[in-house]
């Protein structure tokens, strides 16, 4: 093990040396006065951006055209070639649902950057060459956002969306089992992060211990792109205190002539021994489209780096469909549903997910007149229906008390947005209503007692949260700077039926008399970006209020925290408020590629935390816990940190992607409950205690080389994670050693029909765990991550 670590340290040093000395030389060796050709591709019929269009740039004129470079459009239809030396080139656009065409562009008018906009008309072999040369127009917001396309996701071995999110800078994840990793953004977690599907749909999970975070409700293969907006600024989507994650699902489009296409994915991972299959069939004509898709995951227990099996097996079966249409280029509608069946083992929780059934429905209507002032009206309605059953039957203590919990959670909502072109900018005005309902029952079977008595306990008792919101977002681009402002008002009402618990004798042992609360929250954010040629500097600031969630308000005595205490909800909690500022430097040079550097500072008021109730007030309910904590609004939490991201230009054969991130979080004053054995014996006040579950410094580097006109791309990746020695004393958090991992991938695009992605993660079989991983039940040891894992994803398109 020591030898392997030494080898990895050597690899890291060599990479550092390369970055300091070799890489700049490499960049200058590729430096020249070359032109940049970039642009965006749209569906001419729907005016929507077209992703996955194969774009090739070739020499012209030539009897035998030579491909200079090739790429694919990203989720926003964009492409870029950044080192073009020729004076005249031909660009070829190819997509399975559109006719292939070429456009010749002359690069001789002295400009360095050529922006083109392409509108592809489906199935019509003529009039396709609508090319518009446009001025540069930035669409970057003044705060950090990370966006991953489906193409990037399917190149990796990911068991769920949460696992992929962990590869993004300053996004971590809490592992409790083999799947359903719970995202942490810059140290913010749970309801401090706003997770939405298709820009609107919220999901209230069933499990109080977050076996099923909202990100687990959409499979990675159904995702068109993942958008992560860091900071509290994206108020259109809701009040994400620390960040917003928007999962945009795949959706077909109308086509001029009837078309049918299909897509299949077959994946295998060696550790765990896991198979996954996903398929979709879609059809469309000039007015209607439909898609049916299904997937199945069957993963076994994985092995850690020392060969120990972790009981983490899971199966997931999903199917869904979408129908939609368009009329007169003005009206568009779609209706979709997605049904899922999950069974997941969670060795770091007291229970496993044994039967989780969800039904997500979503409807959307768009009216797009493209008027001088009125651009678009969008209405979205949704419902997320979750039925979650979990039990402790795989735990040793089920021999004494076999417990089954049954939770139903329903989230319904509607959101309407109008888009205007006014005051020389863009204005979005929206209203948003969401209703969350939750009810849960725990059945305890005392099977070591002669009459096997059964006891029923409420986890939630018909809890309901209604949220009414209205918001505005205004943005405008000036010659050298861009501005954006947003404001949001949330009226939040919560109530629950009586919160009461009786003991075996029928005597009340817990009662919360007042379960109703109403909160009015005002949130604001704003930002400005100043452009200095290739460099831009952005400053964003915001003050955002978040209402407490179902758990914080209404949970009835369960060990749902990081520390060993039963937790009790508090319906009278005040909103948590984040005051945050982000300073971002972006340098986008065609030779060097994009480079981003961000610093952030968050000052959180009314931070929701737990405080111990005296045993005379409340006895714990769970065996082995130290007592009962009630959620309350604690003191101030300060979180600071930085992020760095760099990627070489897309047209370089040799390239790299580098990210580094760090977050530092402190709670200003907190009580430490000193324990002896299973008893709290004393308390002490701690000032500036590190906040628990904050990821340590992390850096990752991917080095790749594009071969055979992008057909074959080998990639080697290194991920370095530092020790985490800043740990919470109040939460009894333990330090975590750092680690370095090496991985390798190979992406092969045979043609537009077949592609293969294969690789190996954790090549040296390192035995490690992440700082955010939870402890295995019954042990002080955190759950280890998988050891070496070979994977392959085979993708068919037709």
């Amino acid at each position: 093990m020591v030898k392997v670590k030494k080898k990895l340290s050597l690899v890291m040093w060599l990479l550092c040396l390369f970055l300091v000395f070799g890489y700049p030389l490499h960049l200058f060796s590729q430096d020249n006065d070359a032109k940049v050709v970039r642009g965006q591709v749209f569906n001419e019929l729907t005016r929507e951006a077209l992703s996955d269009v194969a774009v090739k740039i070739e020499t012209y004129p030539a009897t035998e055209p030579r491909v200079i470079a090739s790429t694919y459009t990203d989720y926003s239809g964009r492409f870029s070639f950044e080192e073009i030396r020729d004076s005249e080139v031909s660009i070829k656009f190819e997509h399975a649902d559109f006719e292939t065409f070429k456009k010749v562009i002359s690069l001789t008018d002295g400009r360095r950057v050529y922006d083109i906009k392409v509108f592809m008309k489906p199935d019509k072999p003529v009039d396709l060459e609508v090319v518009v040369i446009e001025e540069r127009k930035t669409e970057k917001k003044p705060y950090m956002s990370t966006i991953a396309s489906s193409r990037e996701i399917e190149q990796k071995a990911v068991s769920d969306v949460g696992e992929y999110l962990r590869s993004m800078p300053n996004v971590g994840g809490i592992r409790r089992g083999g799947a359903n990793i719970d995202p942490v953004v810059r140290g913010f977690k749970f309801s401090q992060i706003n997770v939405v599907i298709d820009g609107a749909q919220g999901v209230e999970g069933g499990c109080p211990n977050r076996m099923d975070p909202a990100t687990s409700r959409v499979e990675a293969e159904d995702v068109e792109r993942i958008e992560v907006y860091k900071g509290p600024y994206a108020l259109r989507f809701g009040t994400g205190l620390g960040g917003t994650i928007n999962l945009v699902t795949k959706k077909p489009q109308v086509t001029n002539t009837p078309q049918v296409s299909a897509r299949g994915l077959r994946g295998y991972e060696s550790n765990p021994n896991g198979h996954k299959e996903h398929f979709s069939v879609r059809g469309s004509n000039a007015h209607l489209y439909a898609q049916f898709s299904g997937s199945r995951w069957n993963y076994g227990n994985y092995r850690d780096g020392e060969g120990n099996f972790i009981k983490s097996a899971f199966t997931k079966n999903n199917y869904g469909g979408i129908i939609g249409g368009q009329y007169n280029n003005l009206y568009e509608f779609s209706l979709s549903m997605r049904r899922s069946y999950h069974e997941v083992l969670f060795p770091a929780l007291p229970m496993d997910e044994v039967d989780d059934v969800s039904l997500l429905t979503f409807g959307e209507f768009n009216y797009t007149p493209h008027g001088q002032y009125f651009e678009k009206l969008s209405i979205k309605a949704y419902q997320s229906d979750i039925h979650h059953i979990m039990d402790n039957k795989n735990r040793p203590f089920s021999d004494t008390v076999a417990t089954v919990s049954d939770v139903k959670a329903l989230t319904s909502g509607i959101k309407a947005e109008a888009f205007f072109n006014v005051f020389s900018g863009s204005l979005i005005a929206g209203i948003d209503y969401q209703n969350r309902q939750k009810d849960g029952l725990r059945t305890k079977n005392f099977i070591m007692q002669p009459m096997a008595p059964v006891k029923l306990e409420d986890l939630w008792n018909n809890a309901v949260i209604d949220n009414y919101a209205a918001y505005l977002e205004y943005s405008r681009n000036f010659e050298n700077y861009d501005i954006i402002f947003a404001a949001r008002y949330d009226h939040n009402q919560a109530k629950s039926d009586t919160i009461n618990l009786d003991n075996m004798m029928g005597v009340s042992i817990m009662k919360i008399p007042d379960t109703e609360s109403t909160l009015n929250n005002f949130s604001f954010s704003g930002g400005v970006t100043r452009h200095f040629g290739d460099l831009s500097v952005s400053l964003a600031a915001g003050r955002v209020s978040r209402s407490p969630d179902m758990l914080e308000r209404f949970i009835i005595l369960l060990p749902v925290g990081f520390d060993p205490y039963d937790y009790m909800g508090n319906p009278q909690l005040e909103p948590e408020i984040n005051n945050q500022a982000d300073l971002t430097f972006r340098y986008n040079n065609p030779v060097i590629g994009p480079l981003e550097l961000n610093f952030f500072y968050a000052h959180v008021e009314n931070f929701i935390y737990g405080r111990l109730l005296p045993r005379t007030v409340q006895e714990p309910f769970t065996i082995g816990v130290l007592g009962v904590k009630e959620f309350y609004n604690a003191d101030i939490v300060n979180i600071t940190g930085f992020e760095i991201a760099h990627r070489t230009p897309e047209n370089y054969d040799f390239g790299l992607a580098l990210t580094a991130s760090y977050a530092h979080a402190t709670i200003s004053e907190v009580t430490h409950y000193i324990r002896e054995g299973n008893q709290v014996v004393e308390t002490e006040q701690i000032k500036n205690d590190p906040l628990n579950e904050i990821p340590p410094f992390e850096a990752s580097l991917d080095v790749f080389y594009r071969l055979f006109n992008n057909k074959l791309t080998p990639t080697v990746g290194v991920r370095f994670v530092n020790d985490q020695n800043r740990v919470s004393k109040a939460m009894y958090e333990s330090k975590t050693p750092g680690y370095t991992l090496l991985s390798a991938r190979l992406a092969y695009q045979h043609n537009s029909f077949v592609s293969i992605h294969t690789g190996v993660n954790n090549i040296f079989d390192i035995h490690y765990y992440d700082h955010l991983n939870r402890r295995m039940v019954g042990t002080p040891q955190k759950i280890y991550e998988p050891g070496r894992n070979f994977f392959v994803n085979l993708i068919f398109n037709l």
Binding site: A262, G264, R266, E277, F279, V281, G294, R296, N317, V354, D391, K393, S398, D399, A402, N445, I447, M448, Q449, P450, M451, A452, N751, F753, V754, L794, F796, N797, L798
Partner: protein, 126 residues
């Protein structure tokens, strides 16, 4: 054109395979036996039956060699429970749960009429 056709056939075959592979097989049930022996005169027994209902019976036996048995099939992870007591101070009892013919759990007492002998658990998965 020919290539395109080949790819389509290949892809459709793969999709068909995926759909066929995706067909779930049913969970295999396991045979459960509750057995009580060594009682000289008789005993009272409480057990969870095949429907998960708690059932109570008074059983009379002729000798300690008599075996009281209740058998059924159950899904893995179902709760199994049997608890018995006797009134004859000269007696003893052995309570057993078998899964697929093999002893899963058992317990015994001798000359103790005050305690119930309880054997319970969760049907293990194969």
């Amino acid at each position: 054109m020919k290539n395109k056709l080949i790819y389509k056939i290949l892809a459709l075959s793969a999709l068909l395979l995926i759909i066929l592979v995706s067909c779930e097989k049913e969970t295999e049930k396991r045979k459960i036996d509750y057995e009580i022996t060594r009682s000289v005169t008789g005993f009272s027994v409480n057990y969870l039956d095949k429907n998960g209902t708690l059932t109570k019976k008074d059983v009379e036996v002729n000798s300690a060699k008599d075996i009281w048995r209740y058998s059924f099939t159950a899904e893995p992870r179902s709760i199994v429970f049997v608890s018995a007591s006797y009134k004859d101070i000269n007696s003893s009892i052995n309570v057993k749960i078998k899964v697929d013919g093999k002893v899963y759990k058992q317990a015994s007492t001798r000359y103790d009429t005050t305690m119930y002998v309880t054997v319970s658990g969760v049907v293990p998965e194969i």
